[in-house]
């Protein structure tokens, strides 16, 4: 089951991320960012997080592109070329060092799907064993989202609806 297919996906991810940063035009950057978040969705799908992949594919690759374009449409001047100043030397030196530090720290993490990792031994077994008896919901993720964390999900829904209303107010056509 563990083909190392995530490696080509990660290479594609880095390629698109670099392309989105280096390209000279805002709209092209938006397009490349769309493919970037699609590859991210593929990585989630490959690692077995199908629901996260679903959200990333729909929101990241689909809706975010549309929202970026709408924003550009409303705000940007006709010329959307990017003129970026040279980054300061501190940034060029410090950010790769920070990345190395994070990679070094990540080598300490348990490997993917390790049954002995703290995430798999601490509270997960409790939910996996008791969720059907507690909530009568066949899907464990759904039972955690909608029952154990129902208040959290409620507030999340409030946030999503508020931002939806804000988007609608900003993007509606002016009544002539």
């Amino acid at each position: 089951m563990t083909y190392s297919f995530e490696l080509p996906l990660l290479v594609l991810l880095i390629l698109t991320a670099g392309g989105a940063i280096l390209v000279k035009d805002l709209i092209s950057a938006v397009l490349i960012l769309g493919s970037y978040s699609f590859f991210l969705a593929l990585i989630w799908a490959w690692l077995g997080a199908a629901d996260v992949a679903f959200v990333e594919a729909v929101v990241g690759a689909g809706l975010a592109t549309v929202f970026f374009l709408l924003t550009l449409f409303r705000t940007a001047p006709d010329d959307t070329r990017i003129r970026r100043p040279r980054p300061p030397v501190v940034v060029v030196v410090a950010l790769p060092l920070l990345g190395m530090l994070l990679l070094y720290a990540a080598s300490d993490l348990p490997s993917f799907g390790d049954p002995a990792s703290p995430a798999s031994t601490h509270v997960s077994p409790h939910y996996l064993e008791n969720s059907v008896a507690d909530t009568l919901t066949p899907n464990v993720v759904t039972s955690v989202l909608m029952d154990y964390r129902a208040l959290d999900t409620l507030i999340e829904t409030v946030v999503v609806f508020t931002s939806g209303i804000a988007c609608w107010l900003l993007l509606r056509r002016d009544p002539e």
């Binding site: 089951m1 594609l12 199908a50 689909g62 449409f73």
Partner: protein
């Protein structure tokens, strides 16, 4: 094993489209490349679903992606139409 082969072939195809997206001299090249990537993407998601033997869930993902990708392409087309620039 043959599924792995299929995955890698589709990944190589995606790289070809990606070259057009990242390099593409004009915006239209990028839009077309993105469209090509998304057609490969739909199949790739379903193949991943076959590998994990959970095709039903991955069909949902790929359908949602296909629908929203259409909307994205329409938004880009609308933008280009109203801005009137390549």
């Amino acid at each position: 094993m043959s599924l792995l082969l299929v995955l890698n072939v589709i990944a190589v195809l995606i790289v070809m489209y990606l070259y057009r997206v990242v390099r593409g001299p004009t915006l239209y090249d990028r839009v077309l490349g993105l469209n090509g990537i998304s057609t490969k993407a739909i199949i790739l998601l379903i193949v991943i679903g076959t590998v994990y033997e959970r095709v039903d869930m991955f069909v949902d993902i790929s359908t949602g992606y296909a629908l929203l990708n259409l909307i994205g392409t329409l938004a880009i087309a609308k933008y280009l139409e109203q801005r009137g620039r390549p």
